[in-house]
């Protein structure tokens, strides 16, 4: 081509090709610290657990199989609620940013806000008196309590996509659905995933309350510890929940890092 072309050359050096963000390395370093902390915590707990002199009651709750049972219950609660939260929050968030449904957004957000603003323990007990005690009502309460961050971040993420880009997409002949799938959602992914991670961490913490409605989980250790004044149980439960929350938060960060669209 003509010689004038090459003078408005690239602003970035070729090193950036391939989409690796300049901030990529520090981000990865941050991602490495957290699992190390979690592993150290787990190791410390395991060490204490195998060397501590435990009474029978303590042994019953802190036995490896009992512990595994509590952790698995806890994860099941978290996972079941998370799946439902995603299935409700993301589609609803998308819907509330589309044409005519936009007007309903304040109302729905208000309802979701109420769910989160209500004291979690109250929510658990109220739902249990209505739906009966057990796993199911615990999950329903967890969903009501954590749907907001996912819903709100989905909406904020989609609203944050430049209208210019949506118009460019429509202007080149993409249908509304295609623009949503190929432009809006990919660009909103970082914000949506941040909401999902927030919800997951909230879920892990809040699932400890499931024990009040016979939903199982690590909350059992804590309540037993309080009721019987057994600090070993109380602290074990609290530490395990914290480690679990940190681990899930880390997994969420990794997913966010990997799923972030290249080029952003």
């Amino acid at each position: 081509m003509t010689a004038t072309l090459d003078t408005d050359g690239p602003r970035t050096t070729t090193g950036a090709v391939g989409g690796g963000s300049p901030a990529g390395r520090p981000a990865w370093r941050g991602l490495l610290v957290q699992p190390v902390l979690v592993l150290v915590g787990v190791a410390a707990f395991a060490l204490w657990r195998s060397t501590a002199d435990l009474s029978d009651t303590e042994q019953r709750q802190l036995g490896w199989s009992a512990l595994r049972r509590s952790i698995v219950d806890h994860l099941q609660l978290t996972l079941a609620a998370a799946v439902i939260v995603l299935l409700i929050g993301i589609p609803l968030g998308i819907l509330l940013t589309r044409g005519p449904f936009r007007r309903a957004a304040p109302v729905v957000l208000a309802v979701a806000n109420t769910g989160q603003a209500a004291p979690a323990i109250g929510l658990f007990v109220l739902l249990a008196t209505w739906l009966g005690f057990g796993f199911r009502s615990a999950v329903v309460a967890l969903v009501a309590y954590t749907v907001l961050p996912v819903l709100r971040n989905t909406m904020v993420g989609l609203q944050g996509v430049e209208p210019r880009l949506v118009e460019a997409g429509r202007g080149m002949g993409m249908s509304g659905v295609t623009v949503l799938l190929r432009v809006e959602l990919p660009l909103a992914v970082p914000v949506i995933l941040a909401g999902v991670r927030t919800a997951l961490v909230l879920l892990v913490g809040t699932a400890t309350l499931a024990t009040f409605v016979s939903g199982g989980g690590l909350g059992l250790l804590i309540t037993t510890g309080i009721n019987l004044s057994l600090n070993s149980l109380l602290i074990s439960g609290a530490v395990l929940v914290a480690l679990l929350a940190l681990a899930i938060d880390w997994a969420g960060r990794v997913v966010e890092h990997v799923a972030r669209p290249k080029g952003l």
């Binding site: 081509m1 003509t2 010689a3 004038t4 072309l5 090459d6 003078t7 408005d8 050359g9 690239p10 602003r11 970035t12 070729t14 950036a16 090709v17 391939g18 989409g19 210019r164 880009l165 118009e167 460019a168 997409g169 429509r170 202007g171 080149m172 002949g173 993409m174 249908s175 295609t178 190929r182 432009v183 990919p186 660009l187 669209p261 290249k262 080029g263 952003l264």
Partner: protein, 397 residues
């Protein structure tokens, strides 16, 4: 005087237009196109009739809020007309499926509107993809288009928009709009967000591309200089998209239809005529050209013999990279290959106005003119003065 000016410039303009351009565009005809928004008493666009000939670049100018952008967006039905008909060629498009229609109309917006999460190649290949072209054809087309807009496919096809300068993004935006070879191109203030130097280059490029392709282009701008430079015709709009004048740039400058147009065109219309003369239309001086890496003393000797003060240095591909004085050159043993970022360069299709701008900003008091095969010559302030004298002489004679 204005009449003779119009006659004269009219001749050069028709010359410019009749450069055997291959026309691949179709005509656009608007009949009583109207847009009313609910709750507003006056129409945003009020019964516009307009005919845009195939293969021409027509500029929509007017103050902001006059409805020119709304009118543009009705052409690809991003805005649905309340009333009226729009024909592309002989097809009435007001009843067609808008998505199908838009795949046949290129659309360029400010800053390119590139999707940041897709590579340059993916961005350009979007419309061909929707038209179900096979992969090999799309990738060949992407490379062809990157070449057309002056970006090396090897370097740029895998990049993300973030890694491009504003001007490059805009080039990719144009390439994307041209991807499926649409007969019509709509451009909505495409060069509004780039710096003046880049804008001038992009304008020159657009003229070149249009010369090669002969699309029908509708171009919205609020910059009358841009309209005069690029347009085969200019439509001046007033509020409600009322067509005040639809004419060649020469006529709009020389004989504004109403006081409104004269106001809009602004003072210095005579000076704006500089925008109508291309660098390629005037006689250029031929400089002494040396390649980077040549023996400096030898070059200095030749330049002294030729009575030159400056030497244009080119790279291996013949593109100018710097324009040092003999004194600067004699300090080195070989001709240096350093690239002067501030080197004033214009193309043969740039206007005298652009050239004057560039040379006033340059320390050398001139500009290097590049053509297809590298350096075409140099131009100094005196060259422009001579061209003005000549124009004046023609007008008076």
């Amino acid at each position: 005087m204005s009449e003779t000016t119009a006659e004269r410039t009219g001749a050069t303009a028709s010359e410019r237009r009749s450069t055997d351009r291959e026309v691949s565009g179709v005509s656009i005809r608007l009949e009583g196109v109207t847009k009313r928004y609910p709750g507003q008493s006056t129409a945003a666009v009020d019964a516009v009739d307009l005919e845009i000939p195939a293969g021409e670049m027509v500029m929509f100018v007017g103050p902001s809020g006059c409805g020119k952008t709304t009118l543009l967006k009705m052409l690809n039905r991003l805005v649905e007309p309340t009333d009226g008909k729009i024909f592309l060629g002989d097809d009435d498009v007001t009843g067609q499926d808008p998505d199908q229609l838009r795949r046949r109309i290129g659309y360029v917006i400010q800053a390119g509107g590139l999707f940041p999460h897709m590579t340059v190649a993916t961005n350009i290949g979007l419309v061909p993809g929707m038209l179900k072209w096979d992969k090999a054809r799309i990738s060949a087309r992407v490379d062809e288009l990157l070449d057309l807009v002056g970006l090396d496919p090897e370097v740029y096809r895998g990049r993300y928009p973030r890694e491009l300068s504003g001007g490059q993004q805009q080039r990719v935006g144009v390439a994307r709009a041209l991807a499926a070879d649409p007969p019509v191109l709509l451009m909505d203030e495409p060069f509004g967000a780039v710096d003046p130097v880049t804008r001038q280059r992009l304008q020159d490029e657009l003229i070149r591309i249009q010369g090669e392709l002969g699309k029908t282009i509708v171009f919205v701008t609020h910059d009358i200089d841009e309209a005069v430079k690029l347009g085969d015709r200019i439509v001046v709009f007033d509020v409600g998209a009322r067509v005040v004048q639809y004419d060649t740039p020469e006529a709009v400058l020389a004989e504004p239809a109403e006081d409104y147009v004269a106001d809009f065109v602004g003072a210095g219309a005579t000076l704006k005529q500089l925008t109508l003369t291309r660098v390629g239309d005037v006689t250029l001086q031929s400089p002494l050209v040396a390649r980077a890496g040549e023996d400096a003393a030898d070059v200095v000797r030749r330049a002294t013999a030729a009575g030159e003060q400056y030497v244009v240095v080119t790279d291996r591909r013949g593109r100018p990279i710097s324009w040092p004085t003999l004194a600067e050159l004699s300090r080195a043993s070989t001709v240096p290959d350093t690239v002067d970022d501030k080197l004033p360069v214009v193309g043969l299709r740039s206007t005298l106005n652009d050239a004057l701008d560039a040379m006033l900003a340059a320390s050398q008091g001139g500009v290097v003119v590049t053509g297809r095969d590298g350096v075409a010559g140099v131009m100094v302030v005196e060259t422009v003065m001579a061209a003005i004298q000549q124009t004046r002489g023609q007008v008076e004679g």
